[in-house]
Symmetry: C2
Subunit: 150 residues, 2 copies
């Protein structure tokens, strides 16, 4: 079962400038930052709200760290904007298998590492009416993380 919108992934050319835009315009603060070498991105996670499954919904700002990363190629084609949406689930393995059985292409054989120790996979956008769709199971300690003190 998919129990929340976990995050909206937004691709940008300049992570610091985009973080600053979201901070000054809306008041959202960075809860967590990391580099995901496998995905070829630097990312900042901004927590927007808690959800009734005990998790939270985030904005995930993404800047490519190498020109051959999927996000770099996407930015070169589309410019800045919403790159993907992610649904949270307690069971990314089971959901991915069930969705694959329905004929939707799942991009990874096994879930990979996502933000904050989560496990993630992606569904092919051409099978999802144009929406690159991620499934994510949070690391237990991060599920309902409150913002850091500032």
């Amino acid at each position: 079962m998919l129990t929340r919108i976990d995050h909206i992934g937004i691709a940008c050319f300049d992570l610091e400038a985009t973080v600053e835009f979201y901070r000054t315009t809306y008041g959202f603060e960075v809860h967590h930052s990391e580099v995901n070498e496998e995905q070829g991105v630097r990312e900042a996670m901004l927590r927007v709200n808690g959800t009734d499954d005990g998790g939270a919904t985030w904005l995930q700002l993404l800047e490519p760290v190498r020109d051959d990363s999927p996000v770099a190629k996407w930015l070169a084609k589309n410019g800045e904007g919403v790159h993907h949406i992610a649904f949270g689930t307690a069971d990314v393995d089971g959901e991915a298998e069930a969705i694959r059985d329905k004929g939707v292409r799942v991009l990874y054989d096994q879930p990979r590492r996502g933000s904050m120790g989560s496990r993630i996979t992606f569904l092919h956008p051409k099978d999802c009416h144009g929406v690159l769709t991620e499934l994510v199971t949070s690391a237990p300690t991060e599920t309902s993380a409150e913002p850091e003190a500032h």
Copy 2:
């Protein structure tokens, strides 16, 4: 203050087919459907989760009802995909004014009617790192609506 991701707006060519995709693939059901003549769209609202501000997060599936609507033009250029993201607030008027004062273009002079009796406005995507961004204040009775029985 923006207190939740209210919805993700997804543009599609065939509303019924897209609703069916979200139902059969993920189990999301339509809570509400309407035509917004001013926006030139037919829409279906799929409730994903409740939020800790007493509201909810939705998928808003949008099909244009006329060729000159903004969503029709967007689809002709981009194909199906994520059209906009929307932040929920108790005070769309005050938030729009504060954001305009920061130099971000707000597309309407006054908020207009959105889904389920809400009041909405949009921020110019070129001022928001490529993201068409909506601000929405829900109608009081719809804020935390549970799914319809099926």
